[in-house]
Symmetry: C2
Subunit: 322 residues, 2 copies
């Protein structure tokens, strides 16, 4: 299934793995890319730029297919050496970068000079248009369904994707709520050129995530997520456990970021993913977990999604046309 | 385009007009049904059961195509003679009823004995399963995108529709966020057998709504809606004006239903729809307004949606399969 995105990125299937902090390591990225989709390493999962350099080399030993590296610009307490991470990405010969969070304009000249294809992730049409203006090659637009940073506008993909496609000249990748062939066809019908899946790839054999977490995703439904940090205008969709609910209660009672921060520090997600204590920390998950019922390999998953999509198009939609 | 829903209801296209209070009158219902979709009168738009009887007769003089009548069971301050409305519907020979709000089980024996096809509207898979258990013929499931009562679970259609289809044996109508052929194909791909559109039909020539309201829908974007009454667990998506925002502020400061009620009384919607004072009252609208750019006749709208859907299937999706 070839689209504007598969051609832009040189991949076989219009499916991209979401850039997930603590999860986007070489094992998962290689498995996704080897399956013909686009795997994405997350730069900041590595503690230093040097460690990212090593991780890219490790990934190269596991796949010769295209892959991307995610670089997320977020407000953090500790300054992050973004330029050094960026230079490692460029010097390592990476061909595809996914940026997220703040506007990546300061880094665009360096990426473009190196001939890198840049995908920017955002949650509104307004930000997508800005990203197009500064020269990104595609946008990945996250609907309200998504895991992690959902933005503050709460526009789901059914409306957000066609609204974005109508206003943009560059290709749109639909993100948030996608996990199967039904969703892939829906996204393509809405005008997207690919889907981005985070939670679904987190729940694969190769994802470097504790089995307990994968099992929780399989068992829980679409209702079992919570939106935390809305009061700080930094809304994140996370797994609905007692800790997430207690954060929401703190927010309702007017707690400050200094009080809430320690409860939701990013390292908790890492601890949960690696330790498997589902209830013991804050970790991100999308509403699509309601559609996830197994833990396949990435190869089986990608092949199944594409087959299901082609079946829906040929055996359902075409027949409905009479 | 024939589906399980078109066959169940005897209609030409898998498109249903949402049951809209104050808007679902004979003019709109007839126009939608004459266009080959399913028009729906709203029973409670009529002040008495006798007035509903007259409105059904008026509708019959305008169309000989199938139509439905919506009967919504909601908590109200003034008791509503639901049995009398129901009996008028049955005695008038109506063949299709859409129920919404509270569980319609008390009325199901009467409807089924009369051979009426019942569609129940709900916002969660759990309620859809209950509706199936009590014998409804189809469910219309409303995603978080929708106008009016969105429920309290905030699951958009991209996840809600396939989750519902997977668990139900009866056909599913996708509701919320739909307004064009892109959405129709997406809904069919996700497993729905039809789409339900409220806001889109409100913005047609025949809708008995002031032109100012239609023009506001055309001009405003997907962000211009607000969720009010969340604090009362009666969340409604309405047009984002100063009045709606003031209600949200009242809610934040802990106002009670007795204080909020007068501000949002249903009659305000009627006044706005008829008087055209966009900023002067609370009125419901869905996020799909971001995809609405014109005010066509129902016939033009329905034909365009079906043509666009068939074009997307034949000229885009089939070609992507190679």
């Amino acid at each position: 299934m070839q689209t504007a995105i598969t051609r832009l990125l040189g991949i076989t299937h219009p499916i991209i793995q979401g850039g997930m902090q603590w999860v986007g390591r070489a094992e998962l990225t290689a498995a996704v890319s080897n399956a013909g989709a686009l795997g994405i390493l997350t730069a900041l999962t590595q503690p230093t730029p040097e460690a990212l350099h090593d991780e890219i080399n490790r990934l190269r030993s596991m796949t010769d297919k295209p892959f991307g590296v995610n670089l997320t610009f977020l407000p953090t307490l500790k300054p992050i050496p973004y330029e050094a991470y960026r230079d490692v990405i460029i010097d390592s010969g990476v061909r595809i970068v996914e940026t997220a969070g703040n506007n990546p304009s300061a880094h665009m000249p360096a990426f473009k000079q190196a001939g890198i294809k840049v995908i920017h992730k955002c949650t509104t049409v307004r930000h997508a248009l800005k990203a197009q203006d500064i020269g990104v090659d595609a946008v990945s637009i996250d609907g309200f369904e998504c895991a992690g940073h959902v933005g503050e506008e709460d526009i789901p993909g059914l409306v957000l994707i066609p609204a974005a496609v109508a206003k943009l000249k560059i290709p749109v990748i639909a993100s948030g709520g996608f996990g199967d062939g039904r969703g892939l066809v829906a996204a393509l019908a809405l005008g997207a050129e690919a889907i981005n899946m985070g939670t679904r790839f987190m729940c694969t054999i190769e994802a470097p995530v504790h089995h307990n977490i994968k099992q929780a995703i399989v068992e829980q439904g679409e209702h079992d997520t919570s939106l935390i940090l809305r009061s700080l205008r930094n809304s994140s969709r996370v797994y609905k456990n007692a800790l997430a609910l207690s954060v929401i209660e703190m927010e309702k009672s007017g707690a400050t970021i200094a009080e809430i921060g320690p409860k939701v520090a990013g390292v908790k997600g890492r601890g949960v993913y690696e330790g498997g204590d589902v209830e013991g920390g804050i970790w991100t998950v999308g509403q699509v977990q309601g559609l996830i019922h197994d833990i396949p390999t990435c190869e089986v998953l990608v092949a199944r999604i594409v087959q299901e999509a082609e079946y829906i198009i040929r055996e359902r939609l075409v027949r409905l046309c009479g």
